[in-house]
Amino acid sequence: MLSLERRQVDSRLMEYLSPVLALVLTVITGFLIFLGLDRDPVEGLRLFFIVPISDAVGVAELGLKAAPLLLCAAGLTICYRARIWNIGAEGHFLMGAVGATIAALHFGEGTGFWILPVVLLAGIACGALWSAIAAFLKTHFHCNEILTTIMLNYIALNLLLYAVHGPLKDPYGFSFPQSAMFGDAALLPMLIPGTRLHIGLLFALLAAVAVGVLFARTFIGFQLKVLGEDHKAAEFAGFPRKRLVWFAFLVAGGLAGLAGASEVTGPIGQLIPQVSPGYGYTAIIVVFMGRMKAVGLILASALLALTFLGGEMMQIGMNLPKAMTGLFQGLLLFYLLTCDAFIHYRIRLTRRHVTASAGTNTPLATQES
């Protein structure tokens, strides 16, 4: 008989093996899904996972999609290490995009090297401001941050829609719900000429490394970890809980806001309703896939970025809906959480003691059922 048994010591191997295992299981399940959909599974998987990154432009596109994921995930990592379940990266991201747009439109076609930093700072500030609402509710009213941040995501989305349909709408845009194109001074420089990859990726890599250093070397990182692992110990040690919660929320909001700002000042160049394909939500998967470590986050953000590209390929090459992206992301998270159980537990084969009690208990059990 199989039974799940708590390990004496958590498995380090399983901690790192789990994301790999989850990916393998996702691929296998994907194979079966393609079969079920009456498509060639090998071709399907090739289109989803390989074709999108088979040339330089594809790799650049991967970096383009990975950058916002990584920025959001870096911020969320700070929250999640402290067991602050901030689900609001999507909202921070959208508000960051709105904030950057307001600044960029304000400067119009103006020139000056300082315009871009101010635009990005406006995005960071708006993202942080948005997450400050949830921080305030948590520290002052003990509101559950899962609920408040999810609700704030919807409010942010509606604010964005209001903005593009109203005050930020391009007056010469034939009534399309989108802002005017930004001036050149408000656009991010390109990283690789001939592609759409901009320096937002550098911000993201920097953020991932900074978060790694935060938890490996700084006292505030240590305090956040203790707060997450054992809040009674944090209280006993006298760590400033409220200040730590504020720190986590503001940094997460700022980084997601920067991601939003980089998106409108980067590949898009204007504010549109579909500015995010769900980066803020997908970033949650990145955090868990990446084991909350810098290198892990970078690899995971690349993998999850691939699911966006793969989803587009599905539409083009297989006539399947874009929902394939969400499907693969869901599978990944599902298998990851399943495999993670084996970090703390192991399967054990046990022999049941067949005693007289088994015999006498059986009739009782059937009566009850």
Binding site: F219, K225, E229, F236
Partner: protein
């Protein structure tokens, strides 16, 4: 003799992953015998008890009940045979009455007639001298009364073997005396009693026979009335471990901590409010506070550590009002605290000893400008480990991998090496092996002799009487006077533990003046 034995165990073996909890245990309990089962934490007492009560099946070995071979199918089966058990943590519903609680354990035919049941409860409790009102709700009962409910429940089910797991750990000395009277009467009427404890004096007072366990094996049997406590302790702990600390007399110095009129209403709905606590601690003395768990000990500790903030001038340390300071600032001022919970407050379970060093000792040069100097933390953790002989799998081992005693040595060592001027320790040797307990006592006495004040909050009266210069008791959030240990009788302390401060009023005034 075998035929007469009420319960006989032969070669009981029970193995858990990584530990052989019971390793070939033999045990015989005669009718009407009060039999002590002695051993340190982890010796295998609880496992054996669960085997006898049918909670777990032994891997090997045989039970005989009244001379007949027995395979227990569960606790219900055990109760049916007449094996009753009183756990350390009571299994009572607080919102139900005494009668209702007892009815829950009975077959429907007996439970149905509440009037008759009530009458029987009254009869049984009066007969055995355990005053109990069957209509009271359990939440309104004291710990001692709740224990009586558990015992009466067993007696109503006609138990012929009563197992009591550390029954005295929750009682005041007077309640202990009452309990022993009841148990002696029960035994004289033929009921066998298995008395599980690690308090040797009690066992010597009460029991006819003792079986001593160590590391899952029987290391000795004796007649406790004729064997010295030292000889029994040797059987419990083995040959190498020292049994107790020498405590030279203290030389108290200047007043260091002054608590005056401290009241605190707990945030926790199940907490106890502190009521007008006034005390003074001098440098170079150990002051003890006895009390039954949950009478405000934890709140007092938090009020001193800074986890709770006090009003102005309620907590003064070295002439400075520290009542408004948080734990970090108080630690810097020289107040160190060892909380009752080791894992999950005193130490983070899944973090390494190095990280746990950083938890409270970060001010020892381990953090500069927000950056952690892990080299310093490792050095400090190594010093704690070497100085206090903490057995661990290196300093990177997670806190939860350490045994209770070793973790406690680490936590106390972590605080002691910071050279605090006041150490507040709550239940520092609870659940700790004798060897570690002696080492921990040593640390407290050394701190005292270096001029620190030590406040020792404990339920272990032996420990308090052994170590403390002055002591008193806390009950219902109120503190008794703190008097010199040599002038305090155990009877007086017991009254204070039960909240009876009436005859101490004069002394209170005296102490305040």
């Amino acid at each position: 003799m075998t035929a007469a034995a009420r319960l006989r165990l032969e070669n009981i073996v029970k193995e858990y992953p990584g530990c052989r909890a019971n390793d070939g245990i033999d045990l015989t309990v005669a009718p009407g015998e009060i039999h002590a089962l002695l051993g340190e934490n982890g010796a295998g007492k609880s496992t054996l008890m669960k085997v006898i009560y049918g909670v777990i099946q032994p891997d090997e070995g045989t039970l005989y009940w009244d001379g007949e071979k027995l395979t227990l199918q569960g606790p219900a089966h055990a109760r049916q045979l007449g094996i009753g058990m009183v756990f350390q943590h009571f299994s009572l519903f607080e919102t139900l009455t005494v009668t209702e609680n007892i009815a829950l354990g009975l077959p429907a035919s007996e439970a149905k007639d509440r009037k008759a049941l009530e009458k029987r409860i009254r009869e049984v409790s009066t007969h055995y001298g355990m005053a109990l009102d069957p209509r009271r709700h359990v939440h309104s009962l004291s710990t001692g009364e709740r224990q009586r409910v558990e015992i009466v429940r067993c007696l109503i089910q006609h138990s012929r073997l009563l197992i009591l797991d550390e029954p005295t750990s929750v009682l005041t000395p007077q309640e202990v005396a009452d309990l022993f009277r009841t148990l002696r009467q029960l035994a004289s009427e033929g009921c066998s009693i298995l008395f599980i404890s690690h308090k040797l004096q009690e066992v010597r007072d009460l029991c006819h026979h003792a079986t001593v366990l160590r590391n899952g094996k029987v290391t000795g049997e004796c007649d406790p009335t004729e064997t010295s406590t030292d000889a029994i302790a040797r059987l419990m702990v083995g040959d190498e471990t020292p049994l107790s600390t020498d405590v030279p007399p203290a030389t108290p110095g200047a007043p260091l901590l002054e608590v005056s009129g401290l009241s605190y209403a707990s945030d926790d709905p199940f907490g106890t409010a502190l009521r007008n606590i006034t005390m003074e601690l001098r440098a170079g003395e150990i002051v003890g506070i006895a009390g039954v768990a949950g009478n405000g000990q934890d709140e007092l500790l938090r009020a001193l550590s800074g986890e709770y903030k006090a009003a102005a001038n309620q907590v003064c340390f070295d002439g400075q009002d520290v009542g408004q300071l948080g734990p970090d600032a108080r630690r810097r001022a020289g107040i160190a605290v060892v909380p009752e919970e080791r894992l999950g407050r005193g130490a983070v379970p899944d973090m390494s000893l190095v990280d746990n060093t950083l938890l409270t000792a970060s001010a020892q040069g381990m953090v500069s400008k927000g950056w952690v100097a892990y080299r310093k933390a490792r050095e400090y953790a190594t010093r704690v480990r070497d100085r206090f002989q903490v057995k661990s799998d290196g300093i990177e081992a997670p806190a939860r991998s350490l045994s209770g005693g070793n973790l406690q040595k680490f936590i106390i060592g972590r605080e002691a090496l910071q050279e605090p001027r006041l150490l507040v320790a709550s239940h520092p040797t609870w659940g700790v092996d004798v060897g570690s307990a002696v080492a921990i006592h040593q640390v407290l006495v050394e701190l005292r002799d270096r001029g620190a004040a030590v406040l020792l909050i404990s339920e272990d009266l032996d420990e308090l009487f052994q170590l403390c210069t002055r002591m008193g008791a806390i009950c219902g959030g109120r503190l008794s006077p703190l008097v010199p240990t040599e002038s305090l009788s155990i009877g007086q302390l017991g009254q204070w533990m039960a909240g009876d401060f009436a005859d101490a009023a004069g002394e209170v005034n005296h102490a305040v003046a």
